[in-house]
Symmetry: C2
Subunit: 310 residues, 2 copies
DNA sequence: TCAAAAGTGTTATCCTTACACCCATGT
DNA sequence: ACATGGGTGTAAGGATAACACTTTTGA
């Protein structure tokens, strides 16, 4: 604690900086992630990513918006920085061309039309995280996962508690990253043995793998989004201008990965003043027509933490 | 939404990457931030910062730990990445030598001995954020701040709501960054006119300024720490191995910047099983001796979100 | 004996959760 | 007429917030 007064003013070393985006949309009840089919790495899915060009872009976020608009043609509404990944493991497979590239991960929210979905490269995020969908109750795939995790947990103390906490009924839906990292440690996802960190375990790899550490970035995005729903009105970035309360609920459920009690959800939405009726009705519901609502942008200025504390 | 399948594989452009740390400790009732006296910029306080050297450090965090240990001699316990700042504004004053340096900000928690505090460069964080200390009720400095903010708010619609929401009695203590940024927008902090973004407003600058955007990083660190207290047992990184419940409360209050109801705090601590009695008593309390407690590390494995939801 | 801080008991209120039924429409 | 989803009322339980008083020690 003696020389704390000295600032290192040595010249910084150049590093290659990439920007990677987890662009999320919801279509009906399907949570979607925009993928770019990678040309290398055996066609594994990748998140769209591009370089940060400090000469043309004033800030990181401006750089991101620029090339996502260029690649997807759709402007992103909500954009939020997630995390900066500087792990050497990222490039274990990449031929060591750039063993130290640093990548800044972003979460972006957008809307997608019914038909543009597949054409644009959107895929259900549960293809990559099948264990995260508890909307129909405990996902069946856990019957395949838990025995393998239990076997791994038996080999060291403390592991069993982590498994129970992250994958049990009482799990916290926001801890998607920790769940993925646990599966990585346990050698059950392809990335783990591809990076050469952990030996391949017997049995199939869990979920579709992604390029580099993109699945980790997606896990981070999912967790952050699930957490953010509760205290910021971000769901509305995923909704069309007017929507029914059931559509809103389906969207929240798609993101949160679990069912929500209908009445309580409605009371919550009403009590928060997040929406107001447009006066119109939706008739294509299959049953009684539903009242249409729109987001009240004003709440953001009124309440300290407007969100849907489901 | 048409060409989303193409991954940009163009070579990344080199960028200078720095690591900046907000190293926090609490001494008694004083929340502290470790500063490095900057040699340039008229002796303004700076956060310790250093370059990321990709050749010697495997990850960003390892790089950070290495040079903080080197500079301060004290190993950091808890370390968490905050945000990556790539704003050109950072260097408006720096002579345009490196107009596009990117800096990764970190929050670190450490313990400080009674006497090492000043010698090591620790300063009360309220020197930089005097409006954040509501422990004795509404801070007096608001009498000087609010009229100036109100004047600024009168010039455009919507501003008054933001001011009320961020600086009123019902404010959210976690939104330190937004408060700082509002003062920046309003031209009331030195950084605002130093960066040339906003004209200097009449009246003194609020709080002590810091080098570059270090005060913004500190604001981010304070907000993140205040939020984290509530769902992770991070306070204990600031406590000695054994402590009284009152000392724990003082520490939480120092970080949160507000008073806590004694009985409710104690019940909360008990109900969460975060601590256990050591069996010893502290006699230097000035009154009745207090029971000493220690942190129960086991809770982390037991409960989904262990923290002090004050 | 008294100042100073430790430590406890109780109540009112709000929020969360759960449950079950009726309503309006398109087919 | 009936299937389908829209829409509501109410009650129990737990968490939170507010209150004031007793206890134990060092000086």
């Amino acid at each position: 604690m003696s020389k704390a007064r000295k600032t290192v003013a040595a010249p910084l070393l150049p590093v290659e900086l990439g920007l990677t985006a987890a662009i999320v949309a919801v279509n009906g009840a399907r949570p979607l992630i925009l993928t770019a089919r990678a040309e290398s790495e055996e066609g594994r899915a990748a998140l769209p990513s591009g370089p940060f060009d400090p000469l043309t872009h004033r800030t990181l976020e401006i750089g991101l918006r620029a090339w996502v608009a260029e690649q997807t043609g759709a402007p992103m509404g909500y954009v939020e920085q997630l995390y900066t990944f500087g792990d050497r493991g990222r490039h274990a497979q990449a031929g060591d061309v750039a063993p130290h590239a640093v990548s800044v991960g972003y979460l972006a929210l957008t809307r997608v039309s019914q038909r543009a979905e597949a054409a644009a490269g959107f895929r259900d995020w549960h293809e990559f995280f099948p264990w995260e969908d508890w909307r129909e109750g405990r996902p069946a795939i856990l019957d395949a996962i838990l025995p393998r995790l239990d076997a791994w947990a038996d080999a060291a103390p403390g592991r069993a508690e982590r498994v129970g906490l992250l994958f049990g009924e009482r799990r916290d839906e926001e801890r998607t990253l920790e769940r993925y990292e646990l599966l990585y440690e346990a050698g059950l996802v392809e990335e783990a043995w591809r990076d050469g960190r952990v030996d391949k375990k017997p049995g199939p790899a869990l979920g579709a793998a992604m390029r580099l550490d993109h699945r980790r970035i997606l896990a981070t995005a999912m967790g952050r989004l699930r957490a953010k729903l509760k205290y910021r009105p971000v769901v509305f970035e995923l909704m069309p201008p007017s929507f029914t309360l059931t559509a809103l609920q389906r969207t929240v459920e798609a993101v949160a990965g679990r069912q929500i009690h209908k009445q309580n959800f409605r009371r919550l939405v009403e009590s928060t003043d997040l929406v107001e009726p447009t006066g119109d009705l939706a008739h294509q519901t299959g049953g009684r027509p539903a009242a249409l609502y729109r987001f009240r942008r004003a709440v953001v200025a009124e309440r300290p933490a407007p969100g849907l504390r489901v």
